[in-house]
């Protein structure tokens, strides 16, 4: 039996797959927040786009089948497109409320969380527990046979590959291109960017939309791939975890991705431990993810990291400081008034 057939590697592969929706969501929200907008509605909007994506895919699939066209690809693409659109619209609403109407982003985001959750439950009421289209499993031929790494990275479906690519693309865009630099400037110091001639608010709208679209895709990645279908409060709570991971990630794509995978590992660990120790009450394993959230936020929020860096040798302090940076973009959450 090759190493790729072991339970361990299977679990590793499953962790990577299960992390895909979070990878999309945290990368998207990192982009949005880097441009200066907090989209606190993540829990609601992910649920809303999960529902929307599934429902659209289901309905489109039904219509196409009636017309004699089978296959899951088109319905799923339709569902994903709609989910991305919904996510972008929600994020744009928050940006608009902040930029044009000068309202508090946190307040709008929180209200939207609750509203979108209700709407998701309401509009999804006819579609609960129905079997629906799903993304097709598509292992990459030779690469998926590499020991350990193969199943982890190359034995998934297109959506999951896409999520990996999104992380890399986001990093490259943010740190290696001129527009990315502008975006970071807008989030960090809008006044300075404005003086340099950048249309601050238009940039904010653009990246908010992109980030929101990715968040929407993340939501649909659950209902169309990882946790197929729809039910009441289908993915409740995952949006908050995504927001915490963005903070943990220090608003950097790779670190955020690391956080998403860390979360996946915690979940898998909880499941494995639970089956190995059935005598331990279930509560302990359920609480692991929330304790992890608190632990991770404590780590970046308190002075702990700062003090740890000071313990390191002098030459290592600067690079470590950059690597473990935890400060949010200075212009986050503010409304920039273009005179």
């Amino acid at each position: 039996m090759s190493v790729n057939d072991t339970e361990f590697v299977r679990i590793l592969a499953s962790i990577m797959a299960q992390s895909a929706p979070l990878l999309l969501a945290v990368t998207g929200e990192t982009i949005t927040e880097r441009a200066g907008v907090i989209n606190l509605s993540l829990d609601g909007s992910m649920m809303f786009s999960a529902m929307g994506g599934f429902v659209v895919a289901y309905v489109v699939g039904g219509r196409l089948t009636d017309a004699g066209i089978t296959g899951h690809f088109l319905p799923v693409m339709a569902g994903l497109a709609v989910a991305a659109l919904l996510g972008a619209l929600v994020a744009l609403l928050i940006a608009w409320g902040s930029i044009r109407l000068k309202r508090d982003q946190v307040a709008i985001g929180f209200v939207l969380t609750m509203l979108l959750t209700s709407m998701a439950n309401f509009l999804g009421q006819g579609f609960t527990r129905l079997p629906g289209p799903r993304v097709k499993h598509m292992p990459i031929p030779i690469l998926s046979d590499i020991p350990v790494l193969g199943p982890m990275l190359f034995r998934h479906d297109l959506l999951i590959y896409f999520s990996f690519l999104v992380v890399i693309a986001a990093w490259w865009w943010m740190y290696r291109t001129q527009p990315g630099l502008q975006m970071r400037g807008v989030g960090e110091r809008p006044e300075a960017a404005f003086v340099r001639g950048i249309t601050v608010n238009r940039v904010r709208y653009l990246y908010t939309a992109i980030g929101g679209a990715l968040v929407g895709l993340g939501g649909a990645a659950y209902s169309l791939d990882i946790k197929i279908g729809w039910s009441d409060n289908h993915i409740l709570g995952i949006g908050w975890i995504a927001l915490a991971i963005v903070i943990f990630g220090g608003w950097r794509p790779f670190r955020a991705a690391f956080g998403a995978i860390l979360y996946g590992i915690t979940r898998a660990l909880a499941q494995v431990l639970q089956t190995s120790f059935p005598a331990v009450p279930v509560v302990l394993f359920n609480s692991l993810q929330w304790l992890l959230m608190l632990g991770v936020l404590l780590l970046v929020g308190s002075d702990a990291i700062h003090r740890l860096i000071l313990l390191a040798p002098k030459w290592a302090q600067r690079p470590l400081g950059n690597l473990l940076r935890v400060a949010p973009p200075a212009g986050l959450g503010t409304a920039f008034i273009e005179e």
Partner: protein, 365 residues
């Protein structure tokens, strides 16, 4: 003159928008909006029975909202109020279940006050935890609140399915019913407990007076508006944050006790019923005004109790209530402030005029 009229009438606009949006949604589902809204009214206040149901649901909602008045004044987003309610409910359940068991010869009237006190302590401590996580650990109170909410729910499930499970086995539904003398005295055969309303009104008066008329309330208000300037004026943000959170937690814990000892008669899985989150919406909508909080919480309570009747009549999902509430708050948040929307900017000339100092002789006495 016309502007003044527009300004007073303007708040009706978000309400109309919210109602219209809901009606639209209802029609999409081929239900009759008129029938839906009348079912809503009937379920809320249509009969004495439903009115008392609305009142019974209203009291814990009001308590939680009063508590949130304090934390919002201080500029804090106490999302953890839901978890504070739950911990209060757990503490009250502990007294009602285990103390009554352990002290069968104690006078019956003693258990309710103990439940009340303990639930307030539990809620306050759970809130203190979120506050300390923020002040010492740099964990934003929103995340602390969300994590602690979930941990509170998990704790509830632990007790229900474990140490406190009913004799017939843990089924995740609830503990066995508490002895009647440990509950709030109920009015007739409704779920409404007049004593709980009295407590809520006392809390309302106390908090409203404290916020308006004490130095503590003013400090909170300053803190909420400008943390740095407040510090420079001598206010300790850590102390006030912790205190206001604990007081809010105490009221939320009391709300939890009211839930578990009057609305229910045992500890259930969904003991808090989303009341905490709803209270946040209410206080946002009321712009922190105590009287408005009373009115809006009553309306929202009606929307929820009415919503279950709507579900019966029209087969529409009960989350419709949540949609009405959410759209109302959203539209009010976005479009509700007339002055903000249509404020005219000061002209440069007006700005300059303000800078001129008044000559000494012209100052009026």
């Amino acid at each position: 003159m016309r502007e003044r009229v527009l300004r007073t009438v303007w708040p009706a606009v978000p309400i109309i928008l919210a109602v219209a949006t809901t009606a639209l949604l209802v029609m999409v589902y081929q239900a009759d909006p008129v029938q839906t809204f009348s079912a809503l009214w009937e379920g809320a206040f249509g009969s004495p029975q439903s009115t008392f149901l609305t009142l019974a649901f209203w009291v814990p909602l009001l308590l939680a909202s009063i508590g949130l008045l304090m934390t919002f004044t201080a500029g804090l987003w106490n999302i953890g109020v839901e978890g504070q309610m739950i911990m209060g409910a757990i503490a009250a359940s502990w007294v009602a279940l285990k103390w009554t068991e352990a002290m069968p010869n104690a006078p019956h009237w003693i258990f309710l006050p103990c439940s009340i006190i303990l639930s307030m302590v539990a809620g306050a401590l759970w809130a203190a935890l979120a506050a300390v996580l923020k002040t010492r650990g740099g964990v934003h109170e929103i995340f602390g609140g969300v994590a602690l909410n979930n941990l509170a729910i998990i704790t509830t499930n632990y007790f229900i399915s474990g140490p406190w499970q009913p004799p017939e086995g843990g089924t995740f539904r609830g503990t066995e019913p508490f002895p009647e003398y440990s509950l709030f005295p109920l009015y007739g055969n409704t779920r409404f407990a007049p004593l709980s309303l009295v407590l809520a009104i006392i809390a309302l008066i106390a908090v409203a007076l404290a916020l308006r008329g004490t130095i503590w309330g003013l400090r909170l208000k300053a803190l909420g508006k400008n943390m740095r300037a407040s510090f420079m004026l001598g206010i300790s943000s850590e102390r006030e944050a912790i205190t206001s959170m604990m007081l809010c937690g105490a009221l939320a814990g009391l709300a939890g006790a009211v839930r578990v000892l009057s609305w229910f008669d045992s500890l259930r899985q969904s003991i808090s019923g989303g009341i905490g989150f709803l209270a946040i919406l209410i206080v946002l909508l009321a712009s922190l005004r105590p009287l408005l909080v009373v009115v809006i919480s009553l309306i929202f309570s009606g929307l929820l109790t009415g919503g279950s009747v709507v579900e019966l009549r029209t087969q529409l999902h009960s989350s419709l209530s949540g949609i009405i509430q959410g759209t109302l708050v959203l539209f009010m948040l976005l479009f509700g402030d007339y002055r903000q929307l249509f404020r005219k900017r000061k002209t440069p000339a007006e700005e300059v005029a303000e800078e001129q100092p008044v000559p000494v002789e012209a100052v009026e006495s």
